[in-house]
Symmetry: C2
DNA sequence: CGCAAGATTGAGGTCGTTCAAATAAAGTGG
DNA sequence: CCACTTTATTTGAACGACCTCAATCTTGCG
C-alpha cells in the first residue's frame, strides 16, 4: 500500500499519524503491510501467547487489550482509540488479548520491518521509545487509580480522561459498554452503574443515552479526580 | 569516573550491569556522572515535578517510586533492586517520587549524555527501548494484581516475585516494611499483616523475622498467583 | 412486535478497612 | 549492656464500600 493523497478522500485506508510519528520519514518507515482490516464487535485481533509478528494502529473504532486470570477475572489495561498504537512487545509473544470494542478498523505493521528501520534510523528509534513511554505513563497513572481510588473517583477519572481524548470536551461518546468500563476500573458493572447514577443525581453529569455522557460539572469531577 | 578493574574490589563504586546493558559499548555509553551516592533510609532521591535531568541505577539497597493523591494516599508503582534503572522519563519532569527504602547506594547518569549517544548508536537506543518495555510489562502485570486480585493473591504474587528477583528461590529477604508492601499492593498494613499471618498458619510460608520470609509451599503460592 | 442483551435497582453478604489496643522490634543515651 | 523511648507489627472488633445475587427495566435488533 502506498501512502498517497488518497488519504484525504479515504482516510480509513491510511495510517493515522500519531504524535511522534507524523513526519514523512516515519510515515514511510511505518508503511503498513496492507490496507486497514475491519473487525466486528468483540472480534479478536490477537490472543495472549500469539507470536508478536505485527503491531497495530487503530484507524477508527476502539480496541481493548486485557489479561485474564485463570478463573476468568479480566483486567482491561487500556482502550485504544483512533491513532493509538498497540501490540508492541519486547518479547516474542503478545502479552495481552486484543479485541475490537465495537466495529473497528485497524492497520497492522510488520514488526521486523520496523526493527530493521529503527536500527538504521536513530530518530525513528527514539520516537519508538517515546511511544512506548507514553504507554508506560498511562499504565502508571492507572495503577494509582486501581490501587487507591474509590469507585466514584475511578469513574470521575475515567470520564475526564475520555473527555480529554475525545473531540468535545464536555460531551463523551463512550465506545464501550458498562462491562468493559468495569473491567478497566477494577469494579463490577453494578458499581459502575450506581456510580454513574449517583453522579447524575448530583447533576455532575447527564446520561441522555447509555453511551453518551454530558459533563455538567467538571470542577466536581476534578475534585474527585484528586 | 573511569570504569576499571577496581570494580572487582569496590563494586559499589561501579555501575552494575543489567541485562541489555552488559557489553563494553553500553558500559562506556552509560558511564555515570560521578561515583555512587549513598542515601539514608527514606531519603528522597527526586520528587514528582523535579526536572528529569538524570536517571538512576540501584547499586545496592532498594528504592521505591510512588505517586500521591492530594489527601496523602500513596501508590508505590515499583521497588527497584540492585541493577534496576529508574527515573527514565519521556517528558521534562519526573512523574514520581523516588526514595531509598533502607540505606541504599545509587548511581546517576546524565540524561542528555545518553540521548546524544543513543542518537549515534542505534544498538544502544534499541536497548533503551527494551529497558523501558520491561518497565511497561511490570506495570501491566501489576494492573491486574491491583484491579482483580484478592489480598491473599496479592501477597502470594508479591512473595513469588520477590523470590524470583532475589538470590535464593525459597528464602526472601524483604528490604521494605509492611507499610511499603501495603502501598505497593493497594492494601492496608493490617491486611498485609493478616494475610502473611494466615499464610504462616497454613504453613505456606514461615516468618522467622519481620523482614525474612521462607517459602515453604511454593505450589500453594502459585495456585494463589492465578 | 418480540426477543435477547445490556443496564439499572434492590437487598443482603463479604472482604478489606478503620479504629483501637497490645505486642514486638529497633534505636538511643547513659 | 540495659532501661527507656520510639517505631513497627500484630491482633481484635466493628464498620462500610463494594460485591453478589436476583429482579426489573431499557435498549437494540431481527
Amino acid at each position: 500500500m502506498q501512502i498517497s493523497a488518497d488519504c484525504q478522500s479515504a482516510p480509513h485506508l491510511c495510517p493515522i499519524v500519531v504524535r511522534g510519528f507524523d513526519d514523512a520519514a516515519s510515515r514511510v518507515a511505518l508503511q503498513p503491510t496492507r490496507s486497514a482490516r475491519r473487525f466486528v464487535k468483540d472480534e479478536q485481533i490477537y490472543a495472549e501467547g500469539d507470536r508478536a509478528g505485527s503491531f497495530y494502529q487503530v484507524v477508527w473504532g476502539a480496541v481493548r487489550t486485557y489479561k485474564l486470570l485463570s478463573d476468568g477475572r479480566r483486567q482491561i489495561d487500556a482502550f485504544h482509540l483512533p491513532g493509538d498504537l498497540f501490540g508492541i512487545e519486547s518479547g516474542e509473544e503478545h502479552r495481552f488479548f486484543a479485541e475490537a470494542v465495537g466495529e473497528a478498523s485497524v492497520l497492522s505493521f510488520r514488526r521486523r520491518t520496523l526493527e530493521a528501520l529503527a536500527g538504521a534510523d536513530a530518530e525513528l528509534s527514539r520516537r519508538l521509545v517515546m511511544a512506548v513511554m507514553r504507554s508506560l505513563e498511562r499504565a502508571q497513572d492507572h495503577m494509582i487509580l486501581l490501587g487507591r481510588k474509590s469507585a466514584l473517583e475511578k469513574i470521575a477519572t475515567f470520564l475526564l480522561d475520555m473527555a480529554a481524548r475525545g473531540k468535545n470536551d464536555n460531551s463523551v461518546e463512550l465506545p464501550m459498554q458498562r462491562n468493559d468500563i468495569a473491567d478497566y476500573l477494577g469494579l463490577t458493572i453494578e458499581t459502575v452503574s450506581r456510580s454513574l447514577t449517583q453522579l447524575e443525581r448530583e447533576s455532575v453529569i447527564a446520561l441522555p443515552s447509555n453511551r453518551h455522557v454530558e459533563l455538567r460539572n467538571k470542577a466536581a469531577l476534578r475534585r474527585l479526580n484528586s
